[in-house]
Structures are given as C-alpha cells and as structure tokens.
C-alpha cells in the first residue's frame, strides 16, 4: 500500500463524482419519461403501438449496454455525411450525447417493464370506482393508475437506479472521464491498481448506499396506510 497514491486518488476521483452523478441523473430523468411512454405503448390494444414497444424493450434488454453504446458512438460515424446533412452530427460526435442517449434508451427499456408491472397491479375495482365518479381517461390515469403503479414499482425502480450507477462506468469506454475513467488512468499511470480501487469502490458503494436509503424512505412515505 502506498499512502501517497491514496492521497492523490481521493481528490482526483472525487472530482469525477459529479460526472458520474450527471450521467446517472440526466439519463434517469429522460429514461423515466421514455419508460412511461413505452409502458403505455406495450399496454395499448393497438398492435401498431404495442409491437414496436415490445421490440424496443426486447432489443435493449437482451443485448449488452456496451455494444449499444459503441453502436451509437462509433456506429454513427458510418453515417457522418447523412447525419451532417440533417444537422445531427453535431450531437453524435459528442461522447456525452452518445453516452446519455444509450444510457437513457437502456434504462427506459428496463424501467418500462417495472412500470408496466406496476400499472398491471392496479386493481380493476379502483378504476371502475373512478369511472363511476365520472373521471375521464386522463383523470383516471393521473389520479388512480399512475400513483398506485408508482408505489408498486418503487422497490424495482430502486434496483434499477443502482444498476444505472454501475452502468455509467461504461461511459469511460467512450472517453468520458467518470470515476471509472479516472480510476483506470491512475491505475495505469502508477502501475498500482489496488490503492485507487479502494477509493473508487468506496465512492460507488457510498453512492449506492445513499440511494438504497433514499428509496427505502420513499417506500415508507408512499406505503399503504394501514390501520
């Protein structure tokens, strides 16, 4: 153990923490909206909506995130001229854009299944009661289906958030200097991988521990009031 390397790794990896946090929060934010749309698509009666939604979920859940990320970041280069013509190359040449796009699509697919499960768990009786009170479809969704589905989906979503924290490490393979990227740099620079992994590992564990606590609190807050 070399104390100097540890001393040097702490600020370096701490500086990369905001990068990891940004990747996680931005992709979770957009991924959640995508997931709700995809979940509603999968539950729709129209095959024009549920078939593409199913295909999207199937593809993104059965292939590794790494290859999805490479396909978007490196693969887009093959269509550089076409993307340039429609003005999209500006985005696709940015590793940040590609990392967030692939993380968003990936978490969107996983989360949509969690939300779909939540929506399916809402009992028909409640919806009938809502209809009997004269709510329209939008009100039913907003007041009954969505809140109840979210409560049901919360534990599963907590797991997904932790998986996302771990997944962001793949962004380091497309040149983004997140905590894993900085770890790799320090490890190869000093030829000593053991000291910095204690720091990087602790940061990830701490992050996931905080998330577990927050989700636990949220679960308690929205738990069914039992008398």
């Amino acid at each position: 153990m070399d104390i100097d390397i540890i001393k040097e790794s702490i600020p370096a990896i701490a500086q990369a923490l905001p990068v990891t946090l940004a990747l996680v929060s931005i992709s979770l934010f957009f991924g959640f909206f995508l997931a709700v749309i995809v979940a509603l698509g999968r539950l729709s009666q129209h095959s024009l909506l549920n078939k593409p939604a199913y295909l999207f979920v199937y593809i993104f859940r059965s292939t590794p995130l790494l290859i999805q990320m490479f396909l978007i970041y490196y693969g887009s280069g093959q269509f550089r001229d076409e993307l340039d013509a429609v003005g999209l190359w500006y985005f696709f040449k940015e590793p940040w854009f590609c990392a967030i796009l692939s993380l968003t699509l990936n978490t969107g697919a996983y989360t949509s299944e969690i939300i779909r499960g939540g929506i399916l768990s809402v009992s028909v009786g409640l919806l009938e009661a809502g209809k009997a009170c004269g709510m329209n479809a939008l009100q039913l969704f907003k007041r009954i289906t969505f809140p109840l589905a979210m409560r049901q989906a919360l534990p599963g979503y907590g797991n997904e958030v932790i998986l996302m924290v771990k997944s962001t490490s793949l962004a380091s393979t497309i040149t983004i200097m997140d905590m894993t990227g900085v770890y790799k740099e320090i490890a190869s620079e000093y030829f000593s991988p053991f000291e910095p992994i204690i720091i990087a590992g602790s940061f990830y564990l701490l992050l996931n521990y905080i998330i577990t606590i927050l989700i636990g609190k949220a679960e308690k807050k929205y738990a069914l009031v039992t008398r």
Binding site: P64, L66, L71, S188, F194, A200, G201
Partner: protein, 236 residues
Amino acid sequence: MDLTILSWGANGWGDEFFYGTLMTISVAICSFGFGIVLAVGATTMKLSSYKSLQALANGYTTIVRGIPELLVIYLVFYGGNTLLMSVAKGVFNYSDYIELPVFLMGVVCIGLSSGAYSTEVIRGAVLAVPTGTIEAAKAVGMNTATRFRRILFPQVVRYALPGLGNVWQLTLKETSLISVIGLAEIVRIAQIGAGSEKQPFTFFLTGLILFLILASLSDKGYLSIEKWANRGVRSS
C-alpha cells in the same frame, strides 16, 4: 451497408464473428458455473450460525453488487499479475514473469459478479423450502446427505431456476465487458472489424444481433429446463 464483408473466409468477418460467438458462450458458461460454485459457498456461509462467516459472505455480495463490474475487471487486469507474482515469490520463491491468461481473468471477474447475484437467488430458494418436508425426511430416518440429495436439492433447484435464468442472461451480457481487456469475444471482434473496415455501424449491429440470437436461444433452452425441473409438480 456492404454485407459481403461479413462473409466466411479470408476476406470476410463471418468466421471471426463465429469464433467470437463461441468465445462469448464459453466465457459465459464458465463464469456462470464458477458463479454457482461461489454462490453455493456464500449461501452456506450466509445460512450458517457463525457470525463471522455470515459477515464475510454479506461483504462479498454487498461489495460486488455495489461497484461496477468494469472496475473489477480493470483491477484484475492491472493487478492480477502483480498479485500472483508477489504470491509466487513470497510463497514459492519463484521470480520469473507470470502472465494470467485473459480468458481466466475474464472468467474470474464475471464469475465473481455472477456469483454474487446467484447467491441471493439460491439463498431465497433454500429459505423457500417448506420446513415440513425436511422434518418429514428426518422423521422417516434419512441422514443429512440423503436428506440433501432427495429433499432439499430438488426443491432448491426448482425454486432457484427462474432467478438463475435471469442471472444467466445478466452473465451473458456482462461477458461483453471482457472486450476491454482484449479477449476476442463478440464485442472485441466487432471493434477490430469496425476499425479495419471503416464500417463501425455494420460491425456493431452484427454484434448486437448475435447477442439477440444468444438471448432468444437461452430463453428457449431455459423454458425446457424449467419444464424438466417441474416435471413432478402438480399443476392446475
């Protein structure tokens, strides 16, 4: 998109992709198997009455499930040889250069992660076995080994299968991470091909499709295994 570069032979990448797929399958099978071995050990520790063993197993699953697999892979890649050489020097006084095969490093990393997830699945399955069946076995005079073989094991397998199916799919996808240390599996082949043929989209899409095929084949295989495991169960 020019698909002739995916043909078989010296000018195409079809055969490279084929062997890459075999490599992915072998890494996945070895890691999954190694993971099951780890999981059986960790489950035994978690369910034992020794606090220290429980803490050790809990530490393993918490740490491995809490930090990114990529970090573990870099650790083993950069540190595995150093550690092995210092152990070899300290214990056997052997000071030549030793290099771990990439395949072995990959299996160790992915197996560690796969094992942590399998532990939770197997632990849940063991706890799901009704105690009445164990008591009944004791009552008819079975010894521990017979009880394990006839009563506990078949039930644990049945309860654990759905979860282990998920772990298998996870392990299969995680093998892609080994590409960062240069093992010639699907993603690595796609990277090499993309670089030399200047057609990254074609190559990564091919890799993606290969993973899709592997995933749907696993689904099919898994369904028949589950059917087999449930063959004696009454269904409504």
